[in-house]
Chain length 338, copies 2
């Protein structure tokens, strides 16, 4: 942060995810100390206050009371009936300009619904998209997959906008210098696929703002060849959940095969730590969370199982998005003829 | 096999896959000995003959010479320009009644194209489908996923027919007593998903011949909850290839994490055999191959990396399909009002 930037203020839903409010509050305080951001905690004041006191921060951090909550398993549309839920109030703060970005953990679909009800779409964006990050073959490199479920039906034009937004988020939020965008398809060649993707391909090739690198087959999603992969929300949602399932199967195979025989049992004992790492990296479900792209505000959703470090990371992403004016950049590219 | 059944005769493409013709010929001879089937080997006579001689079987097994070949990487439509390829001649034998089923290894798309050109669709089937088998969390249990790429666009009625065919193949070829059919979707509840699957759901619920067990989310494909999962060919193809990619990522994670430190290196040495098993089970690509459903003949495609045992298994599936009159059963259910 340089001296000319003003301090950004981020609204944090303190009640979402498995470890709320303890880990959320702790992560928010870490962000405040390490990133120099202002934070507003949204949720049950009775639950948040003791956590702040424990960290001697009750006098320096604002709380906005929101008595209702939206659970992980609830349908996104539930937010309509819970206007005082922490996720809705968090979005309210952004809408009212009392915060510049929203960070929440947990139910991504509900967060998207709340963002749309409260903040709305970016002008010019026809459909918002949920972006998810998946691991790749390259250590430390992730791929941004979108849309993973904001929409059930899609049109070529939507995919084009997803590609544009994905490229900007990859570059200015995730820090990829020259992002490569792929279009999820059943073959590499131009002209492959169903009508939707064949038409989208032509739009992507002809859009100078999209760093389009061609079709991405299913097996290439996680090779690291692409930084951003676009698909319709139905496909993306199935794929994301499928990845979680495949990760579980992989872990199950390890559990069944590794301990066989006495050498296996000794080996397991020796490799306890290494296996812990394997488990962590294969638990694709833990890569969850996401970016809400195309809403008229910066909204980052951490995975429901996030602890303080995960919340800190999500807040860092929100700050990157603000510092790099991602929303303005999207708008600029929408104004130009596409 | 009981005394009343006549010996079935199966045409085998001896030139497909990574280990042709040696392993194909060996697998075919195993099937002949163990399953009591007649076999016809199709391909380059010069290549097949020495293999038969090696097994002292040159006098007892027929060869049909087919000089051309279709490679793994070739587009399915190439078969049009290679009428004398082993896969096309294999299908010719079925068409002419000189064999009752076709077995090949390798390029499933090309095999489907050849089957359609030569044998055609089963009367009443609007679109054929390629079925693939994936491993599940339950040891030894697989799930039949279809369509994995015979069609790029789909209609609800096609999915209904896929479900019907998948259930019959699951029961009478794969030996699942009471197969459960799932519809791949983004949520479990009725009414979820895009127009295609929402409409297909209603058709499946109302079809008394389909043992429909509801929507199957991405994460449930490999849990073993369903025996058959239906989806459009675009989705299925992406998913199948994605599973291969995820398997590779999982193996890569093992390679990177397990050997860390001295205990890790000792552990690896101790677990060599167990890790070999893990590798084999996680190599989802090796689960490839498939069933061609909806063509007017029994066609089983083994994976391109199949050795003799894989070919034997594929021939066993073909025999099961013939013995259990799967094609007639599909026809019967199509005649009834759907």
């Amino acid at each position: 942060m340089n001296g000319w930037e003003k301090t950004v203020r981020i609204a944090i839903d303190a009640m979402g995810g498995d470890y709320a409010p303890q880990e959320i509050v702790q992560g928010a305080l870490l962000a405040r100390a390490q990133l120099g951001v202002d934070i507003v905690l949204v949720g049950s004041a009775e639950a948040i206050l003791p956590e702040l006191r424990r960290h001697n921060a009750a006098q320096s951090v604002e709380i906005v009371d929101a008595p209702e909550q939206v659970g992980m398993g609830e349908e996104p549309t539930i937010v309509r009936r819970k206007p005082n839920s922490s996720i809705m109030v968090t979005m309210d703060l952004v809408k009212q300009g009392r915060a510049e970005a929203a960070v929440a953990a947990g139910n991504t679909g509900a967060a998207m619904a709340a963002a749309l009800f409260r903040i709305g779409r970016l002008p010019g964006i026809e459909r918002p998209a949920i972006g998810a990050m998946l691991p790749t073959l390259k250590l430390g490199k992730r791929v941004l997959l979108l849309d993973v479920g904001a929409n059930t039906d899609s049109r070529p034009r939507f995919l084009e906008q997803f590609a544009l937004m994905g490229a900007l988020y990859s570059r200015y939020v995730l820090g990829v210098a020259e992002p490569k965008v792929g279009l999820l398809n059943i073959g590499e060649e131009r002209g492959k696929g169903n009508e939707l993707v064949a038409d989208a391909y032509e739009m992507l090739v002809n859009n100078p703002h999209v760093p389009f690198a061609g079709n991405c087959e299913g097996r290439d999603v996680m090779t690291g060849r692409f930084d951003v992969v676009v698909c319709d929300g139905f496909m993306g949602n199935v794929l994301l959940k499928f990845a979680e399932g495949v990760g579980l199967v992989a872990l199950q195979i390890l559990r069944e095969e590794l301990p066989r025989g006495i050498p296996g049992k000794i080996g397991i004992a020796l490799m306890r730590n290494n296996l812990g790492q394997v488990k962590q990296r294969m638990d694709y479900a833990a890569y969850g969370g996401g970016l809400l792209l195309g809403v008229n505000g910066v909204c980052i959703i951490a995975h429901g199982s996030s602890k303080a470090q995960g919340i800190l990371s999500a807040i860092r992403l929100a700050k990157e998005a603000l510092d790099n004016r991602v929303l303005e950049r999207i708008q600029q590219q929408l104004i130009l003829p596409m």
